[in-house]
Symmetry: C2
C-alpha cells in the first residue's frame, strides 16, 4: 500500500501483515479513496481469515474494518460481498477464497476505471482530431489511480490518452483545504510523466475564460438520481465557470457512486469537517486567534451544469442516468 499521508515528498510502501494493519491503515488514511478502501478492506478480511476463519471471527473482523470510515459506501459493499461468499464454503476453503475475492474486487475496479477512461478518451480524441493541439484537461481534487487501483476515475481518460499517444496536459487545482490536488494528483501525474501544471483553485475562471481548458473532468462522491453531483468542495465553482465559458464539464464515476434512492442533490448530506483544516496549514495558524472557520467537505453541482457522465457504460446524459443504471442493474 502506498502511504498517501507522506506524498508528495516520499513514496513509502506499507506492507500489511495482518488485519490489524489493514484497520489502522484505512482509519489513519494511509489509504484513501472510496474504491481503494473497498479493496483494502477485502484484503484485510482475507488476512483475518488466515488467523481465524470461523463465522464469528469473520463477522467480527468485518465489523471492525467497516467501522474505520463511516461514509465510504464501497467499504461496506466489499465487506458484505466477501463475508457472504465466505460463509457459503467450509472454514478450510475460506482463506484462499477471500484472498481470491480481494484480487477479483481489485481487478474489477481496474476494469471499471478502464471503461470510464474509454468513455472520456473519446472526448479527448475528438478534441485532438479537431485542433491538432495538446488537449487541455482541468480536474479537481484527486479522483486518480491513488484513489483506486489503476487509472482512477477522472484521470482514466488522461492515462488512456497518454497510452494512445495523444498529447494531453492537465491543470491540477491544489484543492484547499486538504490540498489533494497538489499532493496526490500532481504526484501521480508526475510519476507517470503526464504533462501537468499546478494552479490555485481560484485560477479556474481565468483559465476557462481564456481558452486554456478543453474539458473539465472531475470525480464524484455521490450522484443523485436526477444527476445532481456531490463532489469535493469547490467542484461546483468549476462547473459554473465552465458553463459561462462554454467548456464541457464531465463527471467520471463507477456505478457504485450513483445513488438511485436519492432523488436530488438536496437529499445528499454534506459532511462538515474540523475547522482546523482551514485555520492551520502544516500546523501554522493562517488567521487571527479570534477568527472562527467552517469547513464543508463537499458541494453539490446541479445536474444542469453537468455536460455528461463518464461511466463504465460510456458517456451518459444527466437526464438518462437513472435509465442507464436500471438497465445494467435490474432489481431482483
Amino acid at each position: 500500500m502506498i502511504d498517501q499521508r507522506v506524498l508528495p515528498h516520499e513514496l513509502r510502501i506499507d506492507r500489511w501483515a495482518d488485519a490489524h494493519d489493514a484497520v489502522m491503515g484505512i482509519a489513519d488514511m494511509t489509504v484513501r479513496g472510496a474504491p481503494l478502501i473497498g479493496v483494502a478492506a477485502a484484503y484485510g478480511l482475507a488476512l483475518a481469515a488466515r488467523v481465524d476463519a470461523t463465522d464469528d471471527a469473520l463477522r467480527r473482523a468485518a465489523e471492525v474494518l467497516a467501522a474505520t470510515r463511516p461514509t465510504a459506501v464501497n467499504l461496506v459493499w466489499a465487506l458484505r460481498r466477501c463475508v457472504d461468499s465466505a460463509l457459503g464454503v467450509s472454514i478450510a476453503e475460506r482463506p484462499p477464497l477471500l484472498r481470491g475475492l480481494a484480487e477479483q474486487i481489485a481487478d474489477e475496479d481496474v476494469e471499471q476505471c478502464r471503461r470510464i477512461g474509454l468513455a472520456g478518451l473519446a472526448l479527448i480524441e475528438e478534441r485532438h482530431r479537431r485542433t491538432g493541439q495538446p488537449v487541455q484537461v482541468m480536474t479537481h481534487c484527486n479522483a486518480g489511480r491513488l484513489a483506486c487501483i489503476e487509472y482512477g476515475t477522472a484521470t482514466a481518460p488522461v492515462y488512456l490518452a497518454q497510452q494512445a499517444g495523444i498529447p494531453v496536459h492537465v491543470w491540477v487545482s491544489e484543492t484547499r483545504p486538504r490540498n489533494q490536488g497538489a499532493a496526490l494528483t500532481a504526484w501521480e501525474l508526475a510519476d507517470r510523466g503526464v504533462d501537468h501544471t499546478l494552479v490555485v483553485d481560484n485560477a479556474a475562471g481565468h483559465l476557462l475564460m481564456h481558452g486554456s481548458v478543453d474539458l473539465v473532468i472531475v470525480g464524484a462522491d455521490r450522484v443523485a438520481a436526477n444527476g445532481d453531483t456531490a463532489n469535493k468542495i469547490g467542484t461546483s465553482l468549476k462547473a459554473y465557470a465552465a458553463s459561462v465559458a462554454g467548456v464541457g464539464f464531465h463527471v467520471a464515476l463507477p456505478w457504485s457512486t450513483f445513488d438511485p434512492s436519492c432523488p436530488t442533490g438536496a437529499a445528499i448530506p454534506i459532511e462538515e469537517r474540523d475547522p482546523s483544516e482551514v485555520l492551520r496549514f502544516h500546523g501554522a495558524a493562517v488567521a487571527p486567534a479570534a477568527t472562527p472557520a467552517r469547513n464543508w467537505g463537499f458541494d453539490v453541482t446541479p445536474s444542469a451544469y453537468v455536460t455528461s457522465f463518464l461511466t463504465p457504460h460510456g458517456i451518459v446524459d444527466p437526464g438518462e442516468m437513472l435509465t442507464v443504471f436500471e438497465r445494467h442493474h435490474p432489481r431482483v
Copy 2:
C-alpha cells in the same frame, strides 16, 4: 504604518523617519493596497522635502518612490499631484505644503471610502428591513481599511452597518495563494469586533446555493469602460456562482480604479506572479519537485455578472459607469 507582512499574528507599527523608510516600506509590502500606497508615497515625498526641497531633489525622490510598485495607479497619481503643487511655491514653503497635501490625500481617501460605504449600506439596510436577520456578506481578498486609511472599499458598507447597529456577518475567503483574506480581512474584522467566519475559496458555491449569503461585495484593481472588472484571482468564480444562486454581486471602487481608456476587460493586462507562491506555503513545498505551477494574480469578471458598482457617487449600473464617471470628471 501597520506592518501588514506580520499580520495576523502581530500588530507591529512602523514609524517612518525619512523618504528611504517610505521607499523600503512600499517596496517590501509593509504597506499594500492601492489607495494606501498613494497616501504612503505622498508622506514619503513630504519626508524627502524636509531634507532637500529643491526642484531636482523632489523630482528625484518622486521617481524613486514611483518605482517601488510598478502597477499601482494611485502611486503615480499621488506623486504627480504633490510634485506639481510643490513646484508652484517657494522652496521654503514646500515642506509644510507637502505635509498638508499628504494629510489631505489621506482625508480624501477616507471620505471616498465613506461614500462608497453609504452606497453599500443602503443595500444592507434594505435587506435587514426585509428579513430582520443578520445580513450575510461574502467578500474576497482584502479590500478593507488595511488597503486604505479607514473603512476600506468592499468592507466600508460592513463597518457603516456596524456603526448603524445593523447585525452583519462576513464570510471571509482565505484568498489563495497569498491568503489576504485569512491574514488581513479576518484580522481587521476581528480587530473591530465584526462577526465573521473564515472559509476556503472553494466554499463559495456551497454557501451561495444554500442561502447563506445575502450579497457579495468585492473590491477592484481596474474596471474597464464597459464594466468588466479585474480583481484578485478567483473573484469571477464568486460572480458566476452568485449569478446561478440569484445573489447580488457588487463591486466597490473609488473612481481612481475606473479606467475609461480601457474599453473592455480583454484590454486589461493580467499580472503573472512567481509560481513559488503556489508551490510553497510558509516555505514548505506542497507539490512534488517535478510539478510546475502558474500564478495569475487577477481575473476579469465580465460586466454581465456585476449586479452593481458601489461608488463615491452611489450605486451605479454596469452599463452606466462611463456616463456617471464623465459627469463627475469633465474633460478639461
